[in-house]
Symmetry: T
């Protein structure tokens, strides 16, 4: 039986609004549903999950820093911070943990300023535009990577 | 008699210092005076006002998110975050509320890096360089827009 | 009783069309209505107003030059010349008069080439996207600035 | 029998010199010959034509504005203003009329600063480098477009 | 009676789909109709025509190379290769034949990456945005150029 | 029982080499294994799959064009053409089919010239850097999207 | 005795204000004094002079066009049009006359947008920052060039 | 005996991790050791020190604002915020206190996006790449500057 | 006696035209003569040669891929693909074979768009502008490199 | 009688070749003739002159440094160093002497890389393209400036 | 007792002027004072020092090259060459010695062209804007680095 | 028997260090060996050779200038000056001699700032990355070019 992996799921600014606003961009699913769906999937995969959302860059960095020692990998949707936060990038790099970057909408088909990510340079991989299922796919990929 | 509109006034980082520092750039008026002047004007216009200042991007986003349902419009001076925060832009866009962006000094006549605003793209309009009265004018414009 | 200030209102190319074309961009108000509204407001403020529109950069420059000695401030919507006329900027700078730049639509949320203004660098302030009321607000701001 | 369409032909700065100067760039044909050729072609197509040339951006804008109501389409060679006039673009856009942009020489094979056109973004199409016949082809295209 | 000119008509990638897909961008006419219309026009002009379409850059280059000696001019719609193929430009330049570049939609009013053409620098002229009739106009211009 | 969806899997230039060369960049899995794994997954999902690899841009375009009517969605790894082929983008757009873009390595963490994709702008979503499992995840996402 | 050369002196927008405004940038000399000084110098050099100032780009172009046949050379201070007028450049190029470009202040040590000149590319030479004497030096140089 | 100066030492995001992570980039020294070393040095220099670290931009700004009146100078390592925070720059500028910017690693020899600092423009000086001793050197420089 | 090295010589698009077209750019030598000259030189050097030309990027990639196992090095003139083909670069990199890039004309002294090469980044070296002898020199260099 | 001014004339790299090479760019006059002509003019103006040419940036800087105390102004043609030497700019700025920058050919109408000058930012004025007489005009301007 | 380290101190162009010119930028201290102060500090640190200044890039490179074998580290203020000399960078890199880059004024708060340094990429660290004490701090850091 | 050609071989800054430093970049061969090898090759080719190395741009320019009349061609490795010296380019252009530019390492695969050469624009050809043999190949090419 595989070892029980621990995955930290991190949601950046405004993702708490999912399901209630701008559904034409982000879809109708709520963050609670995403987290619940991820937990179910984690159970199937035999791994533990902890989900965290905040609108504060500082809290994100605090949480990411604490992941080292407690978690084996990070699944992160940095939202608007994707394009502007070197500090978050540095925190993720400092953990040395494998991480997968997820975006609900396809950021590469939106405004020009969303085409660049400070996070991608330290990520294992990026999933963009696949909606809530992008999280689940990212979890699968992360677990598979960790189990190899 | 017109319906009582509710306007959220949001002041970004360092605006709490108004009146005490760099008066050659920002003028001698304090933030308390600005808020008081705005409240007086709001009373004349028959609308309600709530003012909020913080140096924390995360708190700004939290507050802006809560505006939906509680407020009819937003008057915002994003200060230094104007030029760097995609997350704040996303929060403002998510509310779907009309917003007016205000700058005390004329940012377009200052350093090159102040000429671009992430907020303008989701704003009804921008007022720059008219000092404290810019807030009042912005309030007038916002109320007029909402009452049409 | 305050001294009677004289304000020159300058409208750039195509603003004579206001109210008749592209109302989805510029709104239904005509230039005559804007000027009339401004005159009413000027009367309230106890100041004199002269309004001028032309599609000719050269005439704009001629008129702006003549403002020195005859006027105390300038309220200008440079329209398309905003983004292309160094000569108009030089004329405005040469008068040494305080000026407020007004745009009916929010130029910062339109095409990329409308995001830069040659005029802003010599303006007291900028009002963008507040429609016809932007003129009135600009007049208020200009008069208040002159009376301080 | 098709309705009699009215087409405004607009020639920008320096095109009055055609045939007398820089024939290696612009060819030997005069503007009068171009207008005459166009008129003949218009007669064949059963449409009316009015030709206008000026070196003044302001007069071009005045003339273009008046086209609405009087003309069904515009054939324009903006010459040097192609690359510098947002105001002319705005005037053309304001008419809402279909327009074809013509250049005698192939501007895309000349200096770098001639590769960008402010007019193209509001044009039905562009014809560049086909000499005087470019006007005739543009007229044909415009009429055909209007008759569809 | 004029000598019988031979014109090679070259259609680049995806133009075989004309009339069946994205009619809102490219119109309802099929490529067969365009070729047939061009042949009719060629007959009127007393010239011979050969039409060629492929989705393969290499085949386009092969075909263009063979034009020397067999054809007097080239009418080309390079489609997506317009913006990316130096090799096609080199092939066209190597023939030394006069060529006219045609685009069905107005590429200068579409995405930024469509505003630059590698082909224009070696073309006699460019016709953009006039739909299927752009080909016919291009043929007329090419024949007229060759007959001068 | 869900309808049997047909998915076209398209592999761009050099992907035939997978498993034999540069394993430090692309991993040890062969393309045959990827296709076989995808087929197995397709069987589980109850959908049909056809896999295609070529080093020829033209053949890719031919194949993509034929997808319309025969397939319900496209899973594509455009490899080196990602960054250079407008023609491939146009072909994909012309089909109007939902498509997912997959990259084995994380292109956003490699050379600067790999950070831009012409394909992303017409894709449903992008998966980058998750190795062979990226294809499977992409297939899952595509099928899920089509079944909604 | 040398042939009597005719030189056209052209002053662009705002130069009519010389001596009265912004003396810290442009100096205390009036345009009349400059023209008078130039006439005196012309008399010494045995050449005829005609001076022209306007704030209208169109009038500048009209005047420059008429120079051919009437004048042997042009001395021009294009002022703000230096940086924005392709049409003026085209007019100057069309005359084929040698021309010297003069700037009172050193434009290369001012704002970035004044560092580029559309006129320089068709000028014999440029004199920048030498104040009113720059005109005289330019006249000397032009006459000497014409007499060689 | 020199007056007792008060220096605020500010450490930005992720610097709390010093000594435990990425020692190949940032070295083995912990932040506590740096602060302790700085305090010892401060004692030698006869000045008082207060050290502060946070991952929150907002808290950094709050703390910097409070420095005015309580401190005579600021020693700051803005870490990842160096490259992205206009708000922090504004806070530092608002204090009007002399400040020295320190980076442990040589940011100018790392990724391109680390070459620009928003802080440098308002700093007395910058020390980059000298490891923990950079703080001590910065303290010496700041004190020497304040005592002149 | 040295081991018999096998070298693949690859000629990109339009090089089949050598000797017949644009001799002022590419010289009078035919590709057959270049290949024959290279074969003679190869015989002297005791190595085997295979020459290949195509106008098809896909065929170039196919051929380059097959080089692994069959050849010891590659001599390539990518012609127009130099500046546009990431796929060809990837194919060359995938072989892991040493390669020398040759250009007949000096691409660095031609149009700006020819100054960048996608191939140079994976090449042992580059020879530009030395005409047909550049191939021979490249062969010498490649063989010498392989024999060290 | 005016005080005897001392002017240092500095010629940069390759100007020793004047009159012997590239006369189509730089003209037939030798440097000795230019210096002799300048001396004659200096005598007329009642000022002293010292001329210096070197191909060594270091010697130029040495010489410029020594000018302070010995000379009242500098006339300099920095030649190729114009576009590349910050050190020469710094030396000139350090003298605090008024300086005029001269170029024989019109650098603004040559290659793009000649359009920027590090020297202009610290110069009184620039004379470009007037050939050897540019030096004389520059001397006149410098002397006149110094005598005001 | 620590081994006696040998440090080469290199001063670039115009630093010989220190103390006599532009004191508002570079301060009142002379280079002799800086060298003397450095020698005193070196004596305290038990290391040997050799100081060298020149305005000649070539002599700087000669001297830097000779450092290998004679010195253990380099302290350099490249002055104006910082921003323009790849050759100096190459010389420094060739020695393989640790080096610290010093600037008296804060180059990052001056003109844009001073923000980039070719030297930083091969330096251990950079000290900018701390005046003469920057040298002493740099010496301390260099010695400390060498003694670890 | 062919005429005895005279070739000047010029080595730029730091090439005197060859063989002793950074062999992983520049290889183990010394400059003396390169010169000796070149002399041997020159003897075979029946031409005379003179070799020159300096770290001084000024001496390089002096030497290059003297080549006219004494030499028939130039073989140059400008080293670090390749990317920064317009003055060296001008000197080379002034001689009017054919020149070949050589780089030991492949500059196009190194740092971005080494991808541009001021010399290439006036060179017959460029050889990059072929190590010491690049010189010999360049000599062969130059002699062959001169003998045609």
């Amino acid at each position: 039986m595989p070892e029980s992996l621990r995955i930290l799921v991190v949601h950046g600014p405004n993702l708490n609004l999912l399901g209630s606003r701008e559904p034409e961009v982000y879809g109708p699913t709520t963050l609670a549903q995403i987290d619940s769906d991820l937990s179910a999937r984690a159970a199937e995969l035999g791994c533990e999950l902890e989900c965290f959302q905040t609108n504060h860059e500082g809290l994100l960095i605090d949480r990411v820093q604490q992941a080292l020692g407690s978690f084996d990998g990070i699944l992160i949707n940095p939202a608007g911070l994707t394009h502007t936060s070197v500090a978050l990038r540095d925190a993720l790099a400092a953990t040395g943990l494998p991480l997968v970057e997820v975006h609900l909408s396809n950021v590469f088909a939106r405004e020009e300023f969303r085409h660049h990510s400070y996070i991608s340079g330290v990520a294992l991989g990026v999933i963009s535009g696949l909606g809530p299922r992008g999280y689940r796919l990212g979890l699968d990929a992360l677990v598979e990577h960790l189990r190899r």
